[in-house]
Symmetry: C2
Subunit: 199 residues, 2 copies
DNA sequence: CGACTTCTTGAACGCCTAGTCAAGAAGTCG
DNA sequence: CGACTTCTTGACTAGGCGTTCAAGAAGTCG
């Protein structure tokens, strides 16, 4: 069944990506439709036609954000030994922060920002966020379980508890970094966390 | 110099406390002046007269929030051994969450929420937040330094790095809890963190 | 009492918001 | 070509927002 009608003039995916950046750097509430129209060079009506209302647009951007992040997460943890990859995941916000000083770019984790701004008032946002967190802990716990079995990571507590703790650390770091990041202190803290996992 | 003119009919401090609760549970953007007028039973003009504009009102509430929290923090860490008090600080968000299920009450840490919503766009908010974080790490690092000297806490890394890590953990827990808290998993994660500090 | 000061009240202001819609443009299909 | 469908455009709507302000109320002070 061929698609008929006037073809869309903008690239939906690319527009979503740019909207993601805007939402990421400014937050949901502080990004107006007009901001999006200006930045994306797509008129209001077309945005509404392609993405529905603002909330749906935003949530789709969050889902895309997480999809990309999760891909990164999985590939970084698919290594042996595990701890270097894990360290890379934890230091990710620090590296993001370096990009920021160059241009005016996103800050923190979009899922974390969403948690603070929309959860728990918006049930759909709460689902997206909760699912993201669950997937993070599932993926990390799986990797830790393998590393425990290999004798690389201490088995003084369960991989699930370790993964949960790591979630807190990443999210905490992402959040706190927004207020100004002392890179040295952050890396020292991360090293302390990683060392605590060593067998 | 006696104060003349018509006396204020509401209790400024008590009103600020109730505004704090509202801002805490809904966030800055989602709390309108009208919401405040309704909840506080104080008319708009009086609020503006007493607190200035919305931003100043909010920031004053955040400062009050932190003042109360810091008092709690200091008293909980002024103990020997340190780790039980530290554990109490870390589990604080979990206990807050229990209150929530009873009535519709604040969630997360107000400073953390402010970080996500206003920082870094609002420089004054950024200052308030950054100062709060700095005070947290200073207080906690001081306590850890003493506990390291007493042989209670491991000295495999500096008290500053440990304190920084603990800041991430508390903030991460506060944030993630908004999306739904698995109390068991949270406590297991906290125990893992506290155990990691033990000498 | 009358002058002065501050607080209260709620209407009003201007602005910005998310969202809608009608008219026209640009394709496909018979 | 003409029918049909979808996308584009930007003016428009309705409502909510933070903020202001003038008029009156409630005190103090001489």
């Amino acid at each position: 069944m061929a698609r008929t009608g006037r073809p869309r003039e903008f690239d939906r995916e690319q527009t979503l990506e740019r909207a993601l950046e805007l939402f990421w750097s400014r937050g949901y509430g502080a990004t107006s439709i007009q901001d999006l129209v200006d930045a994306l060079a797509v008129e209001r009506g077309s945005l509404y036609g392609a993405f529905g209302d603002k909330r749906r647009f935003y949530l789709e951007a969050v889902r895309l954000y997480w999809q990309v992040y999760e891909r990164h997460l999985v590939s970084a943890l698919d290594t042996s030994p595990l701890l270097p990859g894990l360290r890379e995941i934890l230091t990710h916000p620090v590296r993001l922060d370096e990009l920021i000083s160059d241009r005016g770019v996103p800050q923190g984790c979009l899922v974390g920002n969403t948690t603070a701004e929309l959860v728990p008032q918006d049930s759909e946002a709460t689902e997206v966020v909760a699912r993201s967190y669950r997937r993070f802990t599932d993926i990390v716990a799986g990797a830790l379980r393998r590393a425990q079995a290999a004798g690389e990571v201490t088995d003084t507590c369960s991989p699930e508890a370790q993964a949960q703790l790591l979630l807190y650390i990443v999210q905490g770091l992402s959040l706190v970094s927004r207020a100004g990041l002392d890179k040295t202190a952050a890396l020292a803290a991360i090293d302390a966390a990683v060392d605590g996992l060593r067998a």
